[in-house]
Amino acid sequence: MPDPHWENLKEVFHAALALAPEQRAAYLDRAANGDASLRLAVESLLKSHEETENFVDAPAYQAAAEMLVDGDDLKAGRNIAHYRIVQLLGEGGMGQVYLAEDGKLHRRVSLKFLSTSFMKDHERRRRFEQEARAASALNHPNILTIHEISEVEGRRYIATEFIEGKTLRERLQSGIDIDDALDIAIQIASALVAAHRVNIVHRDIKPENIMIRRDDGLVKVLDFGLAKMSAPGSAKAEVNSEAETRRHANTAPGVVMGTLAYMSPEQARGDAVDERTDIWSLGVVLYEMVAGCSPFVAGTSNEIISGILSKEPPPPLTRYSRDVPERLAEIVEKALTKNREERYQTSQDLLIDLKRLRQSRELKAGMERSSPREQSGLPTSQGPTGEATSSRPEGGTPTVPSTSSAEYLIGEIRRHKRGVVIVSALGLVALTATIFGSIMFMNRYKPIQGRLLGPSPAMRITRLTDTGKATTAAISPDGNYVVYVREEEGKLGLWLRQVGSATEREIVPPMDGQIVGTTFSRDGSLIYYTASAFASPGVLYQVPTLGGTSRKVLENISGPVGLSRDGKRLAFIRSVEGAHHVDSLIVANVDGTGEQVLARKESPAYFDNGPTWSPDGKTVVCGAAVEPDFQFESFVVIPVDGEQERWMTSHRWSHVSRTVWLGDGSGLMVLALENRTTELQLWHISYPGGEVQRVTNDLNGYLADSLSITADSSALVAAQEDRSSKIWVAPTGEGEDRAKQLTDGKFDGLNGVAWTPDGKILCVLKTGDDYNIWLMNRDGTERKQLTADSYEKRLPKMSPDGRYIVFSSLHGESINIWKMDADGSNQKQLTRGAFGELCTGFTPDGKWVLFWSWTESGSAMISKVSIEGGEPVQLTDYWTIWPTISPDGKLIAAGYLDEQQGHHLAIIPSLGGQPIKLLPLPSSMSPAFPFGWTPDSSSLVYAQKHNGVANIWGQPINGDPPRQLTNFKSDLIFGFALSADGRQFVLARGTQTRDVVLIRDFH
């Protein structure tokens, strides 16, 4: 039943609309006929009609369809690209954010899907991606890492590191004391310094964009480069004027006010911004942390803007509390100076002031207590800011910070850029080295080009050292001296030896850490060496050849330096590691000044360490990964004058290392690794022809860190490694006389020894070129070969029910977990991670296989996979390796590393999660992994080396003193397992030596 008033209203409206605007008033007078409300209604309808234009037109259609695409939530468990959705974390204007698991890398990530409407604005999207990519190159502990920017099913997403914790906004609610505030500000400032260095301005520093990790208080700044990219309706990120700021603030009051309070005056005015804007915003954040309220508190956004723009400085911090140090108030005042020319000019300056303040407060606190603080210091006072915290006095002996015995735990295992692990173990090659070393040794296929000839018949190789502990050698240009690194009880010293005599002297006393390269100056009077603490960037030192004090030349370099023929210039690589790594090939003056970047390689491309100058000084040669897939390496020639780089040869190797030029410029001698050989060999490359010839084919491989040549090209110096391992059984608690040697090969058990549930021995033996799995009785009889193929296998373990054997094996590009039936039949792949997976055993119920793997970002984590297959379950999301489950199935012991506490043994619940307990690493732990447990689950069992001899020890997890369980008088232990009754060990034992060799008549 139509309403007559309504019908009348429509009639009059349409009639009036049909008239010219100027005739409408007269018509309405007549039609309304005194009905004021009808007249008013029609008038307002007509007015609305004039204004409608696009009202209720296009946007909603599209919006509805777009919402069909991105409006609804992805369900937990859904697989999208290689991610598995875990849960929705939140929604923002830019899109939705999920917690997800990266199926490839087995890590948790946060996935942000960008909304369709956002993606439609091409200009905005382009700028957004450009900024996001720039930001993703930032590699800093205080900056949230961007893993990936990609697209799936028409939806654009960003995968970032997942951080469990609170935003600073949430943290502010519970009050922050001054030292914590200072620490948080220092970490934010460190992040800013890193970003500003590459000209990325955050533009939106505020408590919502700062996360504090739950576990350790590590601060992460989010959304670098992204923050302001999503301003709607305009390709420009910033507003253009103060008026626009105010208008914008008024249209969406709630949202913008949160941001306004942190805006710098120049931002509010709509001026161009630079890093000083971030300094201002950090000033506001620091102010708020200390005062408990923003310096620009106001009721409306207009008042906030007025407060920011007024000449009046905010009330001084000292007004809020007497505890606020005068100096802190000054720093904040300087950061919050309205005129940016008078503000801190760089974030570095701000950072320095904040650090100084913290230091003086710590000193003061220490003095007030009148007793020194505990050596370890509090975690908050350390601040994982990624900045060097100690400076070394010039001219003194370098003391690289101690890194405990962790080197033994992992050697220097560095996840290299393409999923390959580079190993240079310290002192002794760890079993890990064997295992990871060969990951890179084994590539699926190898193009063979060039002539491969045997060694020159006249070649003479002379050993210069016989300690078995010499590495990183170099020969002086005149051929009279050799410098090398000698390992003594875990410390490294630099030694000089006169060639042709037994005279030796120590020139740099033993220190912790590593020495990764030695080079003589051209006149032979100085030795350059690169030293670094574990997992830290290297520092280049020079020391007089005949002894004296070391002097620092350069910081933050990777590997050895190359010297130009005139002795005036250095060449070296500087790496920024991480998810997105960048290697720069840099040349500089010998005193470290005048750095100039010759070339850069960004992931997945990379340089190998150790560039070399050509004799004419016009080019630098360096190893590098070859496009398009970066699976192989070769040598690239980079002209110093900026011309195009080119490959030296078309030959490709699995891995290349150091190079030296022959003096006449006719070619290079290089260390390189051909496919399928497991050792580096010496090669010759002709120049400019690029013809390749293998010069050595030694059973003992060469170490990657050493290759040098005399000025007359008559002699080379390198370092060789020899290793030998046999399988032994030994009763617990007894001496060497009761132990029994079972095998007599060269590499027996190096890749793993284990007990079967019925007391037999499962092991890997090398026959010919192949590593296969064997079974034998505990007296060495009835040997049975279970596998017979050329895929290298490691760490076999039999399931508790005796049905299956699992092992790690390399087929194709990555090492993964495989299973087979106990008789060796029916091999099946269980995992498919991309970064190397090593199984360490079964859970006692036999249902799960425990393993660990590297992650793309260079961390390591523990996972388990069902023996039936399926997706692995991640157990830790922090750096953990070599998990071993206790026989009662309750606990996992694993190697553990974090930035603040260093290396430890961690005890973790068997279902995963944070460590229950951290135990110190035994000193001089022998390179034998994984750990074991005693059958009653009360103690951890490990091998420990003392004076070059390794024995097994048991460490009760209740913290009681460790107990020695074997009593060997010689040799090292590469691997071991304790029998289920706790009475007998099976061991891979043997020797390992590294010595310097002199090579003559090699060409």
Partner: protein
């Protein structure tokens, strides 16, 4: 088992025969199909492609409705349902956005100024929905026209053929309804 197309046709018929409960069964089926098609389009065309709601509905209709048994009314009913669905999706989403809280306890969501636009739009959609409900109470046909045009994305001609009135009538009603809705929304 009954095929999806057959089921949709049956439910449409039942609904046009006055069985309101069939609409509730129909909604998820149509929603699922629209959803699938929208994704397919996005995959094919890539981001930045403009999705036409009416094209989607047409495609869904062709896929879902059992052709041999087609009756003319089915089509108009189908579009009516689709438009209503779209409205529901939009309004639900807008409500969600209106009440969206910033940040989670676990992780910070990168909120930004775009949120202001989204929230502005969201507020408009809810306000429009409210106003449209009032309009529907006064003038059902005008309400339907707005639903088909604004949420269903139909042209004047398509709307006219669905409602079986002349395009001129649709045009008049549409013009009036827009003015009325705008007045209603700005005066509150």
């Amino acid at each position: 088992m009954e095929s999806a197309a057959h089921q949709v046709t049956r439910l449409l018929r039942e609904w046009s025969d006055g069985d309101e409960s069939s609409l509730e069964q129909l909604m998820p089926l149509v929603h699922g199909e629209l959803h699938r098609l929208a994704h397919q389009h996005m995959r094919r065309e890539g981001p930045g492609h403009v999705l036409q709601t009416s094209a989607l509905i047409n495609e869904a209709y062709l896929r879902l409705v059992d052709q041999p048994q087609i009756r003319w009314e089915n089509r108009s009913h189908f579009f009516g349902i689709a438009a209503r669905l779209m409205r529901r999706i939009l309004v639900d989403d807008a409500r969600k956005r209106n009440s969206a809280k910033r940040g989670g306890s676990l992780i910070q969501v990168p909120l930004d100024e775009a949120a202001s636009l989204a929230q502005e739009q969201a507020a408009n959609v809810t306000a429009l929905d409210e106003a449209l409900k009032r309009l529907e109470a006064i003038d059902a046909r005008q309400g339907q026209i707005v639903e088909l045009r604004f949420f269903g994305g139909l042209s004047i001609e398509e709307t006219a053929s669905v409602l079986q009135v002349s395009p001129g009538t649709v045009m008049r009603d549409w013009t009036f309804a827009r003015a009325w809705l705008r007045t209603e929304m700005t005066s509150v």
